[in-house]
């Protein structure tokens, strides 16, 4: 099974591709590819359709209907609604329906990629992704994830105990005798856990306070991001410099994270190995990004954008960009079927 970072890169590539392209042909292709990857890598076991598919259909239909009923633009009038109707009154056009459906496809593709990501990556791998600098954050999330099943168990116990006493859950007020013991019980366990952590030496070895220098660098990085962002928004002619400044400042903050993380002792049980499978997926993502967005002379980038207004016409399609999208299909080819389930 690929590394969680590989899956994250794959989901981000779909996000970037889906959100930057406004052409229904590419959006449908992206959505289909994401669906195939989900079906192959994380097969749906229950009856009925996967939630991402249902969401996709809903958002495309609703997007088309909402835009069709509210945006009365375009030449091909299908029918007209009485002008007295608030918002929806006026001509309903084919172009408005297509535009709404196109935007629904974008949202469906983004959701589908992250749905796949959520299904194929075990929670423990996601927690492991926490940078070492966020040591405490990782501990907090680990504690929370460990306590959740216990809390669910205690919730059932408390409900049973209250039911034996004749308590019935009829309304919101009846939750108080259940929630309060859950809260106080949880807080008692937190005190016990804190004492156990201290007894095992938590926080005893190092002084975790940042140095003044670290704080200064963080401040400089944030200021760089702020100035870059303002320039990006307000000075379009300086956009390249602004983006460069933001990347440099972001890099400074990331470097700071890495430097801070180095001071934290860290051990890993069964490190995940980078495999050929990971490399192939990364390569596939690079192929997609380059073919879609790099200024290649043989790719017609105008084909990525399509507007059905004022009169509906067939959307343009560039074959090289279309083939490049298939780089996102690599996980479905290289990952063993149902491997996600094997790991859980």
């Amino acid at each position: 099974m690929p590394d969680v970072r590989t899956w994250l890169l794959w989901a981000l590539t779909v996000l970037v591709t889906a959100s930057r392209v406004r052409n229904p042909l590419y959006s449908i292709l992206t959505l289909l590819i994401a669906a195939v990857v989900e079906l192959v890598c994380a097969p749906h076991r229950g009856a009925g359709l996967p939630s991402s598919f249902r969401f996709g259909v809903t958002v495309v239909v609703l997007g088309a209907l909402f835009n069709g009923l509210t945006a009365h633009l375009g030449d091909t009038v299908l029918f007209s609604l009485p002008a007295q109707l608030p918002l929806s009154g006026g001509p309903v056009t084919l172009e408005a329906l297509v535009y709404g459906a196109t935007n629904g496809l974008v949202l469906a593709a983004i959701f589908s990629s992250f749905s796949t990501f959520n299904r194929v990556t075990p929670v423990r791998d996601l927690v492991r992704l926490t940078p070492r600098a966020f040591h405490e954050a990782g501990v907090v999330i680990s504690i929370a994830l460990t306590f959740i099943p216990q809390m669910m168990y205690h919730l059932d116990e408390i409900r049973d105990a209250q039911a034996v006493r004749g308590h019935r859950m009829r309304g919101l007020r009846d939750w108080l005798p259940v929630i309060l013991p859950l809260l106080t019980g949880g807080l008692e366990r937190a005190i016990g856990l804190a004492e156990a952590m201290v007894a095992r030496g938590y926080g005893a070895l190092s002084n975790r306070r940042h140095s003044l220098r670290t704080q200064m660098f963080l401040l400089v990085g944030l200021m760089g991001v702020l100035v870059g962002w303002l320039a990006f928004l307000l000075l379009p002619q300086w956009r390249l410099a602004a983006v460069s400044g933001m990347i440099a400042s972001g890099g400074l903050i990331a470097g700071l994270l890495w430097q801070t993380g180095r001071s934290i002792p860290h051990t890993s049980y069964r490190m995940h190995r980078w495999t050929l499978c990971d490399s192939l997926i990364v390569l596939g993502c690079c192929v997609t990004l380059v073919s879609m967005f790099a200024p290649l002379p043989f790719v017609n980038r105008k084909a990525l954008y399509y507007s059905p207004y004022p009169r509906l016409s067939p959307p343009p399609f560039d074959a090289v960009a279309g083939v490049g999208l298939f780089g996102l299909l690599v996980p479905a080819i290289v990952v063993k079927r149902g491997a996600a389930d094997d790991r859980d």
């Binding site: 930057r20 992250f114 959740i148 937190a190 940042h210 991001v225 962002w229």
Partner: protein, 269 residues
Amino acid sequence: MSARRIIGGTIYVLSGVVGVLAFIYPFLLAEVPRQSYGQAHGQDTPLVTIALVGLSVVALLVELQGREISARTVALLGVLVAIASVLRFIENAVPGPGGFSPIFAPIILAGYVFGSRFGFLMGAFTLLTSALITGGVGPWLPYQMFTAGWTGMTAGWLSYVVRALCVKEKLEFVALCVFGFAWGLLYGAIVNLWFWPWAVGVPGQTWTPGLGLWETVRRYGAFYIVTSLVWDTARAAGNVALLLLLGPATLRALSRFRQRFYFEVCTDA
């Protein structure tokens, strides 16, 4: 006041400013040359914004973690986040009306009792953890974390105001309910901003670059009233109901445990 505290405070403010600017960029964006309506919506700005909000959360967490966090705080935070995440799990299994969610009342009460820093961490981690267990990880997550963090952080500020004004217990709950109602609406209004630049619909409700501040505010207001107000009102009313029914007892329990958690023996060393 030491240099460390001044710099720490500035980092807080700057992270907040970067986050706020990332949220409200549609209201600030200057006229940008574009070729077509469709292309305008396909610009890089929303993607940069997602990265920026993520970076602000990271910077704020680095600063918050830079101060000493005791084992008690870590354990308390972990357990409270677990309780709030369980509530979201229940909400997913049995959806409430509209945008009602039971996770905001614990975030508000925790921020109110344990302070703004704890409140921010509680809000951000609750959304992160519950997203991990319910499969809700996505580009919307940094926005949700930031907004829930602000909810908890401002709840801490509310407690300062309430203490400074020495209000009675009943008025304290009125203040908490008003606060919960306001954040019920604000949460939706803020988080909507992550996808509003991508949304389609009536020209009078959608965003295009270079509209000008007031026109953008007017359009967003119209979009919010049409698409979200009813949904968010259910969340706001739910917050008030939870704070009214469960708040007094929960607040007393949390206050009692705060004394136990932060109990320290002073020695004349």
